[in-house]
């Protein structure tokens, strides 16, 4: 997260896959981490912060993408930048049927509302992909998402019986 782009605000919906990143952001004295009550809030918060001169990265899960589709329309209308790191569910190795529909629909939802996105599968490439996405978002005033695939993260294992 400490990148050339000088991101100093992280907004998040709690998510197990983002846990380490969340804890590091919370511990970093130069960062502010804000926990959100809903995803829509995060989009509004990031745009307001950018108007004030602060860059934000928003952390969320694929099931959250559908929740903020309407607020995302503002980003295009006003040409606001935004970067979201989206941990994917409902795909490779998924065990939970409730995750599949929205997980599979996530790319379609993103493209429908004109969010630029580049899926990441390779852990080696992750840092570079984040840097590139930050550049794309904040240099071209575009909404950008990086879906982090379940292949990258490792499929979540059910605590109960498979």
């Amino acid at each position: 997260m400490r990148s050339k782009a000088r991101v100093s605000l992280v907004t998040l919906i709690s998510d197990g896959e983002h846990r380490e990143l969340i804890e590091r952001a919370q511990a970093d004295p130069e960062m502010k981490a804000v926990t959100l009550s809903t995803e829509e809030e995060g989009v509004a918060l990031a745009t307001g912060a950018w108007l004030g001169g602060t860059k934000t990265v928003m952390l969320m899960q694929s099931s959250c993408v559908g929740n903020c589709i309407n607020v995302l329309s503002l980003l295009k209308t006003c040409q606001f930048p935004l970067l979201r790191l989206v941990t994917m569910r409902g795909e490779w190795g998924e065990f939970n049927p409730w995750q599949v529909t929205i997980g599979q629909a996530t790319p379609a939802v993103l493209s429908t509302i004109d969010v630029l996105f580049q899926r990441v599968d390779d852990p080696e490439a992750l840092a570079g992909e984040v840097e590139a996405a930050l550049c794309l978002a904040y240099s071209t005033y575009s909404p950008v998402a990086l879906p982090l695939s379940q292949k990258l993260l490792g499929a979540k294992v059910s605590r109960g019986k498979r």
Partner: protein, 479 residues
Amino acid sequence: MSRSALHRRTVMARLLQDRGGLLVLTGLGTSTWRQFLTARSIFRCGARWAARMASFELGLALAQPERRVMVFNGDGDMLMALGSLSTIAVVRLANLRLVVLDNELYGETGAQATHTAAGVDLASVARAFGFPKALTVTEDHQLEDLRRDLHTHQGPLLAMVKVTPSPDPMALPPREGTFLKNRMKAAPLGPEAIPRINRTIDLNADAGESYGAWTLGDDAALFPLLSSVNTACGFHTGDPLTIHRAGALAREHHLGIGTHPSYPDLPGFGRRILEAAPDQVYTDVLYQISALSGMCRVAGVPLRHVKAHGALSTRAWTHAPTAAAITQATRDADPWLLLIVLTANLLETEARRLSLPVVLETFPERAYLCDGRLDLRSLPSSNIHDPQEADRRALLKPTDLRLMRLEPTSSTLSSSRTPLLVLQLFSVRFEHALANHAVHSGPNLIQECNYRRPLRVKGLQPDRLHSHNWRVQRVDYGK
């Protein structure tokens, strides 16, 4: 529920008195439509997005801890964003204020009752969330305390101000998102913060230069090529009939129209410097602005800008009293008037001192000195007659030497001297350039500065594009 006797307009006027550096955001609907004309540091947005204005404010307040930030929300907006209210309580910023103008109904959609009408008490909700201060305002005498709190209270503050559901006359705000975004971004961070790609160029020329039996220039052929004109007002040329026609043409071609005030010097075409006292310059300029403003009102087109003509302008570059007289007259006539100036001179300095909206101009067909000043017209090398060279310069200048900085720019062509053919060539190239260069970034920016002539854009209706150009009504809420 008991209805409050407070009036929304009074409330906003009282709360924004002596606003100082307070940044103001507004939600959707009638609260916005009262507010937008009063100041530049305001962001609003349409559609359901406005319900998230409180979160938007939280982001801005986080990024600008030294500035106090407030939102005027409606009760409908706030009810939709109770989660945001809890986040704001948890983050607990000292500089964040929420004022909810609670008329207990959805005013925009036909006055259906909101939950606050049934007794939902959002001030109590906010206190339960952990707001250090949350109150309901129903009486006039509470407003002054609230106004003080907006500036001095430490910690997030929520005020539910109960207002009467009055059908006030509307003043519709600009709808263009990037214009509003840039205006708001420049408020805390200065104009340098406006994204470079969001700059616009305005193609401007002097016009209305005929006088009585003498015809100068061809306004009917010129106007369609431009995005704005400076109209002579009778002091160096331009008789009432010509001025009147210019107003009608400006309306017909959707141009921004401005006053081109001059020294009173008809025989010298305003190109000779007169030793006029500053108060005389002040009244001369005020007189010319008032004349054109009246003509424009009849033509149904708003007066947009002032640009000093010839010797008056040249004198103001180096003579502070003249510069001060021009800027003061412009501001006194209408503080919303843009002042078009060349950069790097006293007129620009004075205009900035008075916080007039400044547009920096560049002459594509004139040469410049390396410090940004215009070269002397009398030198042959100063006048560029090759349209391709002029074209190249017009595109270069905005990014060159910070000459144009980050304000909207105005490319001025002097119609009395530049052949129409050159203008036509230039205009075609100019539109082509706008469509293909970084100075313009797509249909969203067409109305970024609400005084630019909109280009035709596929998919957008002309009346929609033009609607921002009309200032319906101005409401004075104090400074």
